[in-house]
Symmetry: C2
DNA sequence: TCAATTCTTTCCCTATACGTCAAGATAAAT
DNA sequence: ATTTATCTTGACGTATAGGGAAAGAATTGA
């Protein structure tokens, strides 16, 4: 049973973030008076949330997972929805990668153009110098 | 030389978007009085902008790109700077790709877990049915 | 017991990429 | 000349994921 500050430090998030997720209904720490107290369960939930974030899911999507998790102790329905979302995410990421590759290709082109230009200028300068050498 | 509406239709964007990009300094159509007039150059720039958008870049990033194209490659020093910026861009994009690959890897893991769980549940259900079949 | 922390809620702020009015100003058409 | 159409600027709205500061309540330490 930890205070908000301790949890924030352990998870490397700010207290604001913990309150924010609570406000969004992702966690619900107990209270002692008005003060928030985090059980091991809440912290485990937070770790799930943070992983979801790392994987690029929105808070709303993460909430959907968690809600389902609560309603479905068998986890089967949850797993199915998770699979769907994973599929979406994977194809989005692959699309992003293709876009990056195209851009890299374009940049390589532009790079070659710049190099050619610089090289051309250097050659012209050398020609000029050689002319003086005559 | 086209009016804003015609350009918007040709490029399939709204007039608001054209004004927005102008406000952000990405394009600078001429004016006849207060009315915007788009030359072929502006439209070409717009096509570059839209390509950047399709590739998932922010407007700020696209502006940097356009500024790069603007760095008139007549001058060698400017071409060198162009090369530098291209280098930065390339390594940024490669880093992004690596991040995406890591995320994809994690997603694959999660996917396998979900599949295993669903499969396990199905197997359990079938066992249950078979039990009834006895 | 009094002051210093800690914690709380509330509210406004940020950035991104426009959408959506609103109110004027022009321009074209009749 | 007047209506209608087009264009202009300005400003507020939207979603996301919190940041930051104010101001009051509760706890802790000397």
């Amino acid at each position: 049973m930890l205070g908000i500050q301790e949890v924030a430090r352990q998870l490397d998030v700010t207290m604001r973030t913990l309150r924010f997720y609570e406000d969004k209904g992702l966690i619900a720490p107990q209270r002692v008076g008005t003060t928030r107290i985090y059980s091991r369960r809440e912290i485990a939930r937070m770790r799930l949330i943070l992983r979801g974030k790392r994987l690029g899911f929105s808070i709303r999507e993460i909430k959907e997972f968690l809600d389902l998790y609560d309603v479905d102790p068998e986890h089967v329905a949850q797993a199915r929805q998770l699979l769907m979302k994973i599929g979406e995410r994977v194809s989005a990421l692959r699309k992003q990668k293709r876009a990056i590759d195209q851009t890299l290709e374009e940049l390589r082109l532009l790079e070659r153009q710049a190099l050619t230009l610089i090289d051309g200028a250097a050659t012209a300068r050398n020609d000029d110098e050689n002319k003086h050498d005559d």
